[in-house]
Symmetry: C2
Subunit: 333 residues, 2 copies
């Protein structure tokens, strides 16, 4: 899957920013790829980008219309269809992270063929994925792992990638979820991969590379999640990481949406991730802790960060609030 950039971001009739999380993520992390936004009259969300219709966006260089919002039910609402057709007629690819495939919207596939543009469904995994083999490969890999889902693994990986690149270290962000794929322009939508192929999909996503190159891999799920731990373990094994960063939200009292499922201690989580990663790389190291401290005061943040450092004896940071320098030093050291 290879997505053509830059984007015109479609915000439809989104009433609230929370429905446009994907759009905000892409704007924040892939700003140079976001030329303009396109909003229907009812839209209440603003990315702060110039407003353009497809033809005007194509004229200034846009290559794809990115569906940046989540409609109810994950399906394309009928009210969007005329707009999608307009984009195709303007020569833009359509890029979607929705559950429905774009080809299932009547007439779209024919129109796309006629105008020689691509319909890209980010949720469709590649065909013919291999089974993981665990054979040692060259290059270095960092994986972000978590005590739970949805607490900063993607943002941590993106932050580390930028920090490495700004130091002149060769580094590539490797996406394993929809928003990550839209930011990177490629990746594997791990939540759609058949279980047997999870490790193999990650091996394919992060192939052998130069010895000093870092793949920075977006983690998924958690070894402590009652439903998703298998996905996470397959990802850990396929990644064959040299370095792990443990991501955590100190305000979370239990696994999200699972009040019966306890949060692990940082110590237990670190131990289990290291044990798991050792299967395919005996030399794996924990190099940092990433805390999501958005709900904390400055004093609480400092306390949480220093407590995590103390507990795990590695540097800590909040990718949105504090510097990653000491984690990067540990990682490269």
């Amino acid at each position: 899957m290879s997505i053509r950039k830059p984007y015109l971001i479609f915000l439809g009739d989104a009433a609230e920013p929370v429905l446009a999380k994907t759009a905000f993520g892409v704007r924040d992390w892939s700003q140079q790829d976001c030329l303009a936004q396109w909003r229907l009259p009812e839209c209440k969300v603003d990315l702060g980008l110039p407003d353009k219709e497809p033809a005007a966006a194509a004229e200034i260089g846009a290559r794809s219309l990115l569906l940046g919002i989540a409609p109810g039910g994950g399906r394309v609402p009928p009210s969007w269809v005329p707009g999608l057709r307009k984009a195709i007629e303007a020569g833009l690819d359509i890029v979607s992270g929705l559950h429905t495939r774009l080809e299932d919207v009547e007439g779209l596939a024919e129109l796309a063929a006629k105008h020689k543009v691509q319909l890209i469904n980010v949720r469709t995994p590649p065909k013919d994925l291999p089974i993981g083999n665990g054979i040692k490969r060259s290059g270095k890999r960092l994986l972000t792992v978590g005590t739970d889902c949805a607490l900063g693994k993607k943002y941590t990986a993106l932050t580390i990638t930028k920090a490495l690149q700004s130091r002149g270290v060769a580094a590539t962000f490797r996406a394993t979820g929809q928003t990550g794929i839209l930011i990177a322009g490629s990746g594997v939508p791990l939540d759609c991969v058949v279980a047997d192929f999870v490790s193999g999909a990650i091996e394919q996503l992060t192939p052998a590379a130069a010895d000093d190159h870092w793949d920075v891999i977006e983690g998924q799920g958690s070894l402590f999640h009652p439903g998703y731990a298998g996905v996470t373990l397959g990802l850990v094994h396929g990644a064959q990481p040299d370095a792990l960063i443990l991501c955590h939200d100190p305000t979370r009292k239990h696994i999200a949406y699972h009040p019966h499922a306890a949060m692990p201690s940082l110590k237990l989580a670190a131990t289990r991730y290291i044990e798991a990663a050792q299967l395919n790389n005996a030399n794996v190291r924990l190099v940092g802790v990433s805390l999501n401290t958005s709900a904390l005061s400055q004093a609480e943040r400092e306390r949480a960060l220093s407590q995590a450092e103390h507990e795990l004896a590695v540097p800590s940071f909040d990718p949105l609030k504090t510097s990653s320098d000491s984690v990067i030093q540990r990682m490269l050291g």
Copy 2:
């Protein structure tokens, strides 16, 4: 997926017993469901069942033609098609564990609809699988786990199920692979399930039950396999087992087909499986070790069994060679 029994077993033109592993497995473990076999003239394999053509088999009560052999490439060869049509015309369902869906064989779906019979693809997972939630449920569950793939997890589960039933304990074998599903008549083909739903699929397969009922669940893969460990972890979590039996082949020097991947010690394997299962059931116990000693002499077998008992402090057995009594006692005790 609910399969209608008894079976007429189709052996096609199988030249060697190894191609008919599925057929032998079903005959050995579901003898009462196997009425007859049907062989093309070139067939060199014999299950020891009466030879019948579809019409004759239907007359004595057969409900399904079971494809008991693995053709090269996992596809239905053209030479089988007339036979499959004959079976449908005789009113038999067709049951297949092949990769190709029966509907993809030209003309079969129409013929099946006309004769009101089912085409059952054992490799097609159920739709709308839930995500695992890990909420404690009633009933007891035993799961067979392994140091590697293909060393006796299914046979161990089948043996334990029969032994429990013969003692009057309510017990149900729960299948997670193709052959197991053909034996049980239902189950989940775990190797085709999207990773996010593995735990949920197993929760659905082994629902809450009477407090003294045992679900005996067929394990898959291994936590120590570089490609499949994620599947195994999802299965362990979804099973929420009260009891584990660790399966092992003492002659195996490394993970099969992966010479770079070391076999774990029995002790390490037991520790990791217990740790993993504790996520959803703090009271899980290891109740036995099952050894595949088919390649050993009588003296070597005894030595291997007693060594395993000593190493793990639980009873050991070989489901095809020795009694399961002491394991069952430990399990019920």
